[in-house]
């Protein structure tokens, strides 16, 4: 089901390397390569070459407004980015802090909703499934605009709901979701919460894939609902949670749309929305600094790679693979 499974599977076939190919095998290889040739061409033009060029750009002073002045500057873009530019680190910090807050909330919420939707005690499960998934198809821009209005400190319903619990929230002195730097990670988590539909579905598929025999056996041994949730359901879906975690982390490092739609590249309030991609956009397309922008892009790439490797490294401590592999 997941990419890693598929990769393992694709490796599993008999090895042909080293052996001489028969005519039949050569014919098969030719046909196979012909079928994948669109991707081979596309990959070379739109991935491989640009990646090499991007690295070369990162070593150049290259402004698209004055391309004739482009020149090779060695590692100075990299040095400036890492040592002289506080915006780089602010971008990474804002992005990482947001990911650390938003990702666990999103993963837990998606899992809990999936557990609820999987419950045999729920009437109208299909209707609930449809309605919990539907918002993830609302265009992201529309979703960001709607949530920003509903979180408006004066007229939004979120603060009105909070007031129902007796906490003063509405107004200038109330909870200013969009204007208080410390609240920004929470605010943008709300803004993104409609996007969890896919994570819910994947969790649900994971829960439905647990053999019923496991639950039945535990029930006979006297394990109650919560005990079974903790000792069977959660361990059995950890691969699915891991999958959501990796894709979520990679996606959040490139977080761009909501802060850009709501604040442009201003970073309002007080730089709290200066996400890394916002800064990248500003350098590359605001100032047309292709060289410096390319260096920033590579930094994001390496950062994402490190995060992914660390996440894969933690797998053995908490992800349970039933197949034992």
């Amino acid at each position: 089901m997941t990419f890693t499974d598929a990769i393992k599977e694709s490796r599993a076939g008999p090895r042909t390397r080293g052996k001489k190919m028969s005519t039949e095998e050569k014919r098969e290889a030719r046909i196979g390569l012909a079928f994948i040739s669109p991707w081979l061409i596309g990959f070379s033009i739109f991935y491989a070459l640009p990646m090499v060029a991007s690295f070369v750009f990162s070593l150049m002073e290259f402004n698209l407004a004055t391309p004739e002045d482009a020149r090779f500057v060695g590692l100075s873009n990299w040095a400036r980015m890492l040592f002289d530019d506080p915006n780089t680190w602010q971008g990474l910090l804002v992005t990482t802090r947001f990911a650390l807050i938003s990702l666990p909330i999103g993963l837990i919420f998606a899992f809990l909703i999936a557990v609820l939707l999987n419950s045999l005690n729920l009437w109208g499960r299909n209707i609930f499934r449809t309605l919990f998934f539907a918002p993830s198809l609302v265009p992201f821009v529309a979703g960001a605009l709607i949530w920003s209005q509903v979180l408006n400190s004066q007229t939004g319903w979120v603060n009105r709901l909070i007031e129902l619990f007796g906490i003063p929230a509405v107004g200038i002195d109330g909870i200013r979701w969009l204007d208080t730097p410390g609240l920004i990670p929470i605010t943008y988590t709300f803004i993104g919460i409609w996007g969890i539909g896919n994570a819910i579905l994947i969790n649900l598929a994971g829960l439905q894939g647990i053999p019923t025999a496991l639950h039945e056996a535990a029930q006979i041994d006297g394990a109650g609902y919560w005990r079974r949730l903790r000792t069977i359901s959660i361990p059995m879906v950890t691969p699915v949670i891991f999958y959501n975690l990796v894709l979520g982390a990679v996606g959040l490092l490139q977080y761009f749309l909501p802060p850009f739609v709501l604040n442009g590249t201003t970073g309002y309030p007080e730089g709290a929305t200066n996400f890394f991609m916002i800064y990248f956009y500003k350098q590359a397309f605001g100032f047309a600094n292709m060289g410096y922008g390319a260096a920033l892009a590579w930094l994001l790439f390496f950062y994402g790679l490190v995060v992914t490797i660390i996440l894969f490294g933690t797998q053995k401590y908490w992800v349970y693979y039933a197949a034992g592999d």
């Binding site: 390397r17 609820l116 609930f128 198809l137 821009v141 209005q149 007229t155 390319a294």
Partner: protein
């Protein structure tokens, strides 16, 4: 619980023993509780949708007024002696009457009863500012027309659909070819190529974006749709992955039969495989449609602010920039933008919810 009451009641009810009945009652309570919890969470989850809809029908003043009632409504006025006067809820003699204020005073004000003007002026002591105006529901559907016209919705829709359909056809067909190659044939380097393919899903687009942009700007494609459409004609990793998973579940016997009949690989693919993969192709096409409908970063960068050809996503964000102080119009525009994807979803929900493609099986 005492044993004898159990038996006593089970005799009363005749057929169903009491312990069983209690269990049933417990189950029903549990079901009601679970469903209520789900409904409560869903209400909170979907609440912004309700807010957007309600706000989209308000006037600008109401949408910006923190004390305005939840539903769109307007203070009622009547004409009195050639002037517009407000109707207020006035508490008189223990009942609240709807009266029109005709003379405003600091300590006392004068009112008339709109249903009984002949009764003359009623004097009420107190500060009229503390009185609530009489409101009646008023739904400003005109907001939708204004938003529609201002963002030139038909033009945005045209470009969005053009982008969606051209790339949907191109990306799905090319991805199907590539996926078939990966699912059926052995060739040197296949495992590595497959890993590279999956790797492009995780690769941040920023890494390849700048040289692409520089290149497209050299050949004068920036500001047109070409940089967005052309790269999608060469297969897209995510589609390839999903289709490959599906092709692997199709038994090889049918292809062998076709090849015995003398069909070449391309004919076999088109005549045997594709018809069987229609559920997966439909799903991938739909996913692609939603991807293009949502695509923001690509059009933002490559169309370079060419406002005449932007898609809905970018058009909506421009609209937000110019109309920031009119939340009612922004909500109307957002609602227009979300209604088409939602309608398509409700008609095709099986494709999304049954996991046809994720699990690689049509169940």
């Amino acid at each position: 619980m005492a044993n004898d009451t159990k038996q006593g009641q089970s005799l009363d009810s005749g057929v169903v023993p009491d312990w069983k009945r209690q269990q049933q009652r417990k189950t029903i309570l549990l079901k009601m509780g679970t469903t209520a919890l789900a409904a409560f969470l869903l209400a909170i989850f979907l609440m912004p949708m309700g807010y957007a809809f309600v706000t989209s029908l308000k006037t600008k003043q109401q949408a910006a007024d923190p004390t305005a009632p939840i539903l769109p409504s307007e203070a009622v006025t009547i004409e009195y002696e050639g002037k517009e006067v407000d109707l207020l809820n006035v508490p008189i003699d223990g009942e609240v009457r709807e009266l029109a204020i005709v003379k405003k005073g600091r300590q006392e004000s004068e009112f008339v009863d709109p249903d009984n003007l002949a009764a003359g002026v009623i004097v009420w002591e107190g500060q009229w500012r503390t009185l609530d105006p009489v409101r009646q529901g008023q739904y400003n559907w005109g907001n939708y027309k204004e938003a529609w016209d201002f963002i030139n919705f038909p033009r945005l829709l045209f470009w969005t659909l053009l982008y969606a359909f051209i790339t949907m056809i191109g990306a799905v067909i090319s991805s199907a070819f590539v996926a078939y190659g990966f699912s059926r044939f052995k060739f040197p380097g296949k495992p590595v190529l497959f890993i590279v393919l999956i790797g492009t899903i995780i690769l941040p687009p920023a890494v390849t974006l700048i040289p692409q942009y520089a290149f497209f700007s050299q050949i004068n494609w920036v500001g047109t749709w070409l940089p967005l459409i052309v790269p999608l004609m060469f297969g897209n990793a995510y589609n390839v992955f999903l289709l490959r998973q599906y092709f692997l579940t199709i038994p090889r016997e049918m292809e062998q039969a076709a090849s015995v009949d003398g069909a070449g690989p391309i004919r076999t693919f088109i005549e045997v495989i594709l018809p069987q993969a229609i559920p997966a192709l439909t799903a991938v096409s739909l996913f692609h449609f939603f991807f293009t409908w949502n695509d923001f970063f690509g059009p933002l960068v490559f169309l370079a602010g060419n406002r005449d050809i932007v898609p809905i996503s970018v058009g909506l964000s421009f609209f937000n920039g110019t109309y920031a102080s009119d939340p009612n119009l922004i909500m109307a525009a957002s609602f227009i933008a979300l209604i088409i994807p939602l309608i398509i979803f409700f008609f095709s929900q099986r494709v999304f919810l049954s996991g046809i493609v994720v699990s690689g099986a049509d169940k």
